[in-house]
């Protein structure tokens, strides 16, 4: 008995010893793999393809970060999260970063102790209805039944919009996009509401997209972007600047195809600094010199990623709009690499 008391105390003290948490960067390097919280499946943004590999606009950002940090864009493990589980997954350390159409809001930034490090897609909430309903404006939706994904900002926007316009609706709460699509197609709701980009993605997967229209009203601002835990600023900087490297690459005309050529021939000092030919920007955030070069080489610059996954040539067919470079009248603007 004395022995077990001793052992018991030993176990208790060792449990009490507490954990010393290493930084996310060290964790990722030690693991040799980036764990990226992704959507359970939103075509064009983050959805598994036929082989189970995650593809899409958001997934490509995970790949770029993995390329910058680990030197290999394929070293990413995707953890599918729902609207309800995503922030808990991030806060608990289950994922290193979250790239999942998450809207940057004041309370999420402050109260949830998360950091939204950039905006990779400027979006807004819209409505999709069947064409034969004869509705041309969201304000005509008085009395309509509306499908809405639970646990998102869209719920609050929807309530606010109908309140502002003094009209009524019946919400049908659903768990994920796939269920929402099924309900909407079955006619269980008159309208489906989510971010306009999500509506475009959904419409692209429908059997006859021409039978459905996305209404012109955009009822909210939805800046979507990658999220990291509050407090690990170094890791936040890495994700932020990897993203800006992709944006700056588009501005400077660096593509996946010509990156080696540009690196060999450029005279632009900013490009030289970014690609690690001059100075050592990478070291300032704990990476090597060629981090940005690898990130861009993984899937190309921001514009290439956009066009390949959700651009006008894809079934989703989104225009650049607000997401064009600032030089083209959009909002995508990378701070200087200096």
């Amino acid at each position: 008995m004395k022995k077990s008391v001793f052992l018991g105390t030993l176990v208790a003290t060792s449990l009490l010893a507490g954990f010393a948490s290493a930084s996310t960067l060290d964790d990722v390097k030690a693991r040799g793999e980036l764990i990226c919280g992704s959507n359970t499946g939103l075509t064009g943004f983050g959805a598994p393809d036929a082989t189970g590999q995650y593809m899409g606009f958001d997934a490509d950002l995970c790949k770029a970060v993995a390329a910058a940090v680990l030197g290999d864009a394929s070293k990413v493990k995707y953890v599918p999260t729902t609207g309800e589980t995503r922030f808990t997954a991030l806060a608990s350390g289950e994922v290193d970063m979250l790239v999942r159409n998450s809207t940057w809001t004041f309370s999420r930034d402050n109260d949830l102790k998360l950091d939204f490090v950039a905006v990779n897609y400027y979006d807004g909430q819209g409505f999709m209805v069947r064409k034969d309903l004869g509705v041309s404006s969201a304000k005509e939706l008085d009395g309509a039944t509306i499908c809405i994904q639970t646990g998102t900002t869209t719920e609050l926007n929807l309530a606010d919009f109908f309140k502002t316009n003094n009209i009524n609706y019946t919400p049908v709460t659903i768990q994920d996009d796939a269920e929402g699509q099924r309900q909407f197609l079955a006619g269980a709701c008159d309208a489906y509401t989510t971010d306009a980009s999500g509506l475009a993605a959904l419409r692209a997967t429908l059997p006859s997209p021409a039978d459905y229209v996305v209404l012109p009203e955009i009822i909210s601002k939805e800046p979507l972007g990658p999220v990291v835990r509050h407090g690990d600023n170094q890791w936040g900087d890495i994700v932020r600047w990897t993203y800006y490297a992709l944006v700056a690459a588009e501005e400077k005309g660096i593509t996946k195809a010509n990156i080696e050529e540009v690196a060999a021939s450029t005279n632009d000092p900013e490009v030289k600094r970014m690609l690690g030919l001059e100075g050592d920007l990478g070291a300032m955030m704990g990476l090597d010199k060629e981090w940005a070069k690898r990130a861009i080489a993984a899937n190309g610059n921001y514009g290439e990623i956009f066009e390949a996954n959700i651009g006008a040539s894809t079934p989703i067919g989104l225009a650049r709009g607000l997401n064009a470079q600032w030089t083209q009248g959009g909002l995508q603007y990378a701070p200087p690499f200096r």
Binding site: M1, K2, V5, G8, A12, L15, L16, G18, G83, E84, F87, T88, A91, S107, R108, D111, L112, K113, L133, L141, G143, A144, T145, T150, G151, T152, E155, L156, L158, A159, D160, K163, Y169, T170, P171, V172, T173, I174, Q175, E179, R182, Q183, A186, G187, A188, C189, D190, H230, G231
Partner: protein, 433 residues
């Protein structure tokens, strides 16, 4: 004079805590208690430290801030301007509604299936075996999703009910029509049923945000009183039968006692129905997105109640079968020898004795059903898990607080159900004198 020498008083030694059987059990219990306390303290400390590291605290003040979201099914009034605590309460009522109807339906299904499984009719008995085995051996979540999908996929769309100008011109009827003299509509959105309205309501008041409707209380109170009165009539008939051997005819008295007072009260209150309908313009064309008027019972509620009660009913059927089989065959043979018919043997002799065995497992099935209502989140039913543990938790980011609160509420709920059922159990159990 001899005096027994007193046994030498053993001085207490530390080793006795282990080697002396008088102290050993206490020692072990004290050690176990200390270990448990240490583990709990460590868990609490871990929690507080980790929350502090993230700059978070434990704070329930979010319950009194504006919720901002809408709930499609609500038993008492709620708008998105109400607080999170009100939303919590709406969710709790939704949970209770499912649990209430689920328990009643599950009991009915379970008793029938359990009795019929012992039927001498081979087909009926086998059918019940198939029902019990199929429902017990497939996860409940799948049944809920299946029931929901069936409802939303096979029922006609709301648009199919609408009469358009083209239909009037060509004289064709709409693709789908309402049931029961155009009062009930089952679409793939829900079941629209008439809503009772009163011309002369008795009014009511609100206490702590909970509405108390005098008309409703009066109707329920009168109905319960009528039932007690009719039971009094039955008791009197029994006394007459025991005294004279002739049982007076009571069925029409009972029927009148139960139906008449409530009907008269409804008449006095001016009961009429708000029937679900479409707004119709001057040409007879149906306008709008959905039925107006009446109450719409969403399919996620119906599917949840049906799936839960079929699933739990299978377990109750087994409890009922076990209860009946626990009653010795001699009992029913004796009853048969007295000339009782099969149905009366079951209701007068077997079931009252079987209840003693049935009720304890029934309690735990009711508890299971109540806790399983949380699966309603799979079909978007906003119960307590959907409001407090879903949207509120997500919008406020107070995971720990919401989870603790939710666990506490479910614990209290389960304890209440268990307490009520234990009272009932006390009335059915063998009374030993």
């Amino acid at each position: 004079m001899t005096s027994a020498t007193e046994a030498p008083k053993a001085s207490f030694r530390l080793g006795m805590l282990i080697y002396d059987t008088r102290y050993r059990s206490i020692t072990i219990q004290v050690i176990a208690l200390v270990l448990l306390a240490v583990v709990l303290w460590w868990l609490r400390d871990n929690l507080v430290t980790n929350l502090a590291d993230k700059g978070k605290d434990i704070n329930f003040s979010f319950l009194w801030t504006r919720a901002g979201y809408d709930i499609d099914q609500q038993l008492i009034s709620y708008t998105n301007d109400d607080t999170h605590s009100r939303a919590l309460f709406i969710g709790l009522l939704n949970t209770l509604a499912v649990a209430f109807f689920g328990c009643i339906l599950a009991t009915i299904i379970g008793v029938f299936a359990g009795v019929l499984r012992l039927s001498k009719n081979w087909i009926v008995a086998r059918l019940m075996t198939v029902y019990v085995e199929v429902f017990r051996n497939v996860p409940l979540l799948l049944w809920i999703i299946l029931a929901y999908t069936v409802f939303t996929e096979i029922m006609p769309q709301v648009n199919d009910f609408k009469v358009t100008q083209a239909m009037i011109d060509s004289g064709t009827p709409a693709a789908a029509s309402m049931l029961f003299d155009n009062t009930v509509a089952i679409s793939n959105r829900g079941t629209s049923v008439p809503y009772p309205l009163l011309t002369h309501p008795l009014g009511g008041f609100e206490f702590l945000g909970i509405p108390f409707n005098f008309s409703f209380i009066a109707v329920v109170g009168l109905f319960v009183a009528s039932i007690f009165a009719s039971r009094g009539v039955t008791r009197r008939a029994k006394a007459v039968q025991e005294a004279t051997g002739i049982r007076p005819v009571t069925w029409w008295k009972n029927l009148a006692l139960i139906v008449l007072p409530t009907t008269l009260l409804f008449y006095a209150l001016g009961l009429h129905w708000d029937v679900p309908h479409f707004n119709i313009d001057e040409n007879g064309v149906w306008k709008g997105f959905n039925f107006v008027g009446g109450i719409s019972i969403a399919h996620n509620f119906t599917a949840l109640v049906i799936a839960l009660s079929l699933y739990t009913g299978a377990y109750i059927a087994e409890a009922v079968r076990a209860g009946i089989m626990a009653v010795s065959r001699g009992q029913s043979e004796a009853a048969a020898a007295l000339g009782l018919r099969q149905g009366r043997i079951m209701s007068l002799v077997v079931l009252p004795q079987a209840l003693r065995v049935i009720v304890p497992p029934l309690i735990s099935q009711y508890l299971n059903l109540t806790k399983n209502t949380t699966l309603g989140i799979a079909v978007g039913y906003l119960d307590l898990k959907g409001t407090l543990g879903g949207i509120t938790m997500n919008q406020t980011g107070r995971e720990l607080e919401c989870m603790l609160l939710m666990m506490m509420i479910y614990l209290i709920l389960s304890l209440l159900i268990s307490a009520m059922m234990n009272v009932y159990n006390a009335t059915t159990k063998l009374k030993e004198r």
